[in-house]
Amino acid sequence: MTDTFFTLFATLTVVSAALVVVHKNAVNAAMCFLLSLVGVAGLFVLLDAYLLAFVLLLVYAGAVVSLFLFIIMLLDTRPEEQKPFRLMTVAGATLGGALLLVCGSSLFARAQFSGASAVEPVGAALKPYAEQLFTTYLLPVQVVGFLLLAAMLGVVVLSRKYEKTEGAS
């Protein structure tokens, strides 16, 4: 049962991520990204990280993707025309991809990861998160709060319209 769901969510994630990369239209790409996020949230649920799945859907699918769609429609970009790649680029990409495949397959061939599946899920409950965030990670939480404030101020400054003031009476 879990295997079936894993296959389903993993396929959904990877296929829609591939569609993000190949789609000409930016709106469709953002929609495929949304689908990919749904798949990732499903994977999080399978990994017993219920809170993270919820927060991922809330923050990414709710806020980030809608912001993206808003900006895409605001800018109204035309679909790009892809120029054909040069021979050098194709050769380099093939070589790099082959090397990556060799590295990855040798890593996964000698890795022995699959022995620890009998561990109980720590991330399933809410209480451990709160405990960690308010004891061990208290300083990072404060720093992240400050970062959010800085980002907010930065966005306000960036999106202001600056008019030329010289010559104004």
Binding site: T2, F6, A10, T13, V14, A17, V20, V21, A26, A29, A30, F33, S36, V40, L43, F44, L46, L47, D48, A49, L52, L56, V59, Y60, A63, V64, L67, F68, I71, I72, L75, T77, E80, Q82, L100, G104, F113, S114, A116, S117, V119, P121, V122, G123, P128, Y129, Q132, L133, T136, Y137, P140, V144, L147, L148, A151, M152, G154, V155, L158, S159
Partner: protein, 102 residues
């Protein structure tokens, strides 16, 4: 009880990261490059949660929290930059944004 192994999750994560990476390299639209950047962040989140689950710790899960926060802030600032750029240059295609080139 979970049946898929850690390797399976890591393969999904690696595939997502690779797709995002190639998207950043190959696409010309700044917005789609940004979307692919987000794809790479999500791939790292999958790897973190999987490692955390299979090792019985919470550190990876808490780290995903911070990654999510940073990603949200980054998206806001990045999109504001793109809009400011579009306002000045009236394009978001990367090959036309070459005014810093000597």
């Amino acid at each position: 009880m979970i049946h898929p192994t850690l390797t399976a999750y890591l393969v999904v994560s690696a595939l997502l990261f690779g797709l995002g990476f190639f998207g950043v390299l190959l696409r010309k639209n700044t917005l789609i490059i940004y979307l692919c950047l987000e794809l790479m962040l999500v791939a790292s989140m999958v790897a973190l949660v999987a490692f955390s689950r299979f090792n019985g710790t919470l550190d990876g899960d808490v780290f995903v929290f911070f990654v999510l926060t940073i990603a949200a802030a980054e998206v806001a600032v990045g999109l504001a930059l793109i809009v400011a750029l579009f306002r000045r240059r009236h394009t978001v295609q990367v090959e036309e944004l070459n005014f810093l080139k000597h």
